[in-house]
């Protein structure tokens, strides 16, 4: 199941909550304000690094670019809208709004 998160991890606990529910190897996609969590050196970094041992983490390039986020935590896979569509085709979607 694909979990999609769109809120900033610094203002809501949506990301942490989603990680609690995600099963082994379930992909997590960060888009809109959630991509802010991909920035290196933040207080969220350790949460994402731990999560990556269990779940592949994706971040949407268009939203990263819009916010000027370039120093991305190693291991986060940057995908475009096309990649988003590919993920949605492969998985059932669980939008964690």
């Amino acid at each position: 199941m694909l979990f999609t998160v769109n809120k900033s991890p610094f203002t809501t606990n949506n990301l942490s909550s989603c990680l609690e529910f995600a099963g082994d190897k379930d992909p997590i996609l960060l888009y809109e304000d959630a991509v802010l969590g991909a920035q290196q050196g933040s207080k969220i970094e350790s949460t994402l690094k731990t999560a990556m041992q269990k779940n592949p983490i994706y971040a949407l390039k268009e939203d990263l670019d819009a916010r000027g986020i370039k120093n991305i935590i190693a291991g986060i896979q940057v995908i475009t809208y096309d990649g988003f569509v590919d993920l949605v085709e492969k998985h059932k979607v669980n939008p964690w709004l």
Binding site: D65, R67, G68
Partner: protein, 126 residues
């Protein structure tokens, strides 16, 4: 007709939201520009996710919106010159001073911004 006397107030715009995901930070900037036309004593404080508003290299073409970063370079022309960014908020988000746009920003700790808030007559949340 009698001319109305312009009342000048000390007002702070408290920017606490990230840009683009919601319209708050864009609207906040619009209100700053409108208010500046009335010759007010304006400051803007960027705290919590609001610090992301000042992030450099924002390119919104991919998400199909215009973006409003360029307006920040024009604020000086509107005599909006007091921009405060919160040191702790930046650090928590992995941002450094050099990650922000090249405008005149004063970097302050939470306690200093809190003190400035005390001095305001009006606080606008965005």
């Amino acid at each position: 007709m009698e001319e109305e006397e312009l009342v000048q107030k000390k007002m702070m715009f408290v920017m606490r939201k990230a840009p683009h995901g919601t319209i708050y930070s864009y609207e906040g900037l619009e209100v700053v520009l409108i208010t500046a036309a009335y010759d007010q004593d304006i400051s803007m404080a960027f705290i919590d996710d609001g610090v992301f508003v000042l992030k450099n290299d924002q390119d919104t073409t991919g998400i199909g919106i215009k973006g409003f970063m360029k307006t920040y370079f024009a604020l000086e022309d509107y005599e909006v010159e007091k921009l405060y960014a919160c040191n702790e908020s930046l650090a928590e988000r992995g941002l450094k001073k050099e990650d922000l746009i090249d405008v005149n920003i004063q970097f302050m700790n939470r306690s200093e911004i809190a003190k400035l808030m005390e001095e305001q007559e009006v606080l606008f949340p965005f």
